[in-house]
Symmetry: C2
Subunit: 269 residues, 2 copies
């Protein structure tokens, strides 16, 4: 029996699986993972690999059986317990020049819980490959030592996104024009959200333990159009924000905003 | 005479030029800019374009003469004065998978003053195309409404970088292992830098007006090796920092660190 820890250039090998993980559980990797284990890593019975499934923490598993086309793994011991994660969504208009792959990869590393593509009026991209988004999110979760994979959602139109919006989730709208709070200030001291004279989310103290649910919304190449900006500013759950004195590209804005939120309210604290 | 403001999908057209800018100054765009003005924008005499040179602020200029292969511009009035910029360097090991183009573009948008490629032991990339780096930095400065272009420097080896390091510039070393301050805390309350019992940079108050000169250092794909990490930690001007609970790719780390610094000490405040 071999007793290698399987590693690749980025560090130890971690696989995201769909099966429940507990001591003694047998896990059968999917086709692609099997190919990787058998033909890239040349895994042998006894080799160790880490597993996570988004619910049961991280486990060390051993390769138990291998054949030409399949292999199985057995969960041995838990390395890390599952822990709560910040409840931050990224709503983004897919952009043409920067592949969505890139945004998905970075947003996963930066701990977004939900990735929601949105088609706005100026969005040039007309379809999103959701399978590819998910594959990228899984790969980034595996490599970043994250214990979950962000929920990659079906694209929505601008209108549908807003009609179905959960009222208690603050939407930070990254606006390039008009009056808005600097994003770090808005995250640190968020203004109350008011609807029909009633406070739906109160101004929250700077050092609360569990932050309010939040989302970041970034536009496409040419930004949001005037109607969209007006519509957003009129909504009770929207807080318009700015991201510094320079104009950031759509993908830079998304990554910068995720970073700021994580460093102030999220799990970087 | 035409009186159009030349624009492109990203907004108004801004050109970075080498000539001094003052009222009435004649500016001859370079070959590539001339091609862009004449054959992409189809500029006519009278058309307006914005110019900046990193020293004289931003100016409106008019196209004065055009021929098949050349055109000239005349400075009309100043739109923005030149202003001081945060003194933040990015030292980065070029990485293979993500083109340096991307890091250069994002770091320019995020306001880095100097871009310094560094060859570390685990750096796979063996050469850097400095002309291309500069072209990317200029394009990103033009599009982000920045008034300067970052100084793109010749690559240095790890050892050369540190031997020639200016002692009063704090180097935030993004370390994945070992004891280190969370980066936002280190930026907000930087520990004093001490050499031979003498304080070279004192602990600076959180709300100072002009921040100390600083630099961020990020490693290659596989991170810094053990010798490099020890060497860095032994240097008086180095402050090791961490960037949250997940392992970030080298390029994500660079962008996240620039964002954090700008939001706490830089011009996002």
């Amino acid at each position: 029996m071999s007793d290698n820890e399987l590693t690749h250039p980025g560090g130890k090998l971690r696989l995201f699986v769909g099966d429940p993980l507990r001591a003694g559980a047998c896990v059968v990797p999917d086709e692609q993972q099997t190919h990787y284990l058998l033909h890239v890593m040349r895994a042998k019975p006894g080799d160790r690999v880490n597993l996570f499934n988004g619910a049961d923490g991280e486990w060390v598993a051993r390769v138990t059986g291998t054949s030409k086309r399949s292999c199985s793994l057995e969960c041995e011991r838990q390395l890390r317990q599952q822990s709560g994660e910040p409840d931050l969504w990224l709503c983004f208009a897919p952009i043409k020049k920067t592949p969505a792959d890139y945004v998905v990869q970075k947003a996963t590393e930066l701990g977004a819980a939900v990735l929601q593509p949105v088609f706005t009026r100026r969005t040039i991209v007309t379809r999103v490959n959701l399978d590819r988004m998910r594959a990228n999110a899984i790969e980034a979760a595996e490599q970043s030592e994250r214990l979950t994979v962000p929920d990659c959602r079906e694209p929505l139109s601008f209108d549908k996104l807003l009609v179905g919006w959960p009222r208690d989730r603050r939407l930070f709208f990254c606006d390039e024009g008009g009056e808005a709070l600097p994003f770090p200030d808005a995250v640190r001291n968020p203004p109350p959200l008011v609807e029909g004279g009633e406070v739906i989310v109160s101004a929250s103290p700077a050092r609360e333990v569990s932050p309010e649910p939040a989302a970041i919304f970034t536009g496409p190449e040419g930004g949001f159009d005037e109607h969209e900006r007006e519509a957003l500013r009129a909504l009770p759950f929207v807080t318009p924000v700015t991201l510094g004195p320079r104009i950031l590209r759509a993908d830079t804005a998304a990554l910068a905003a995720l970073t700021i939120w994580q460093s102030i309210k999220g799990d970087w604290r």
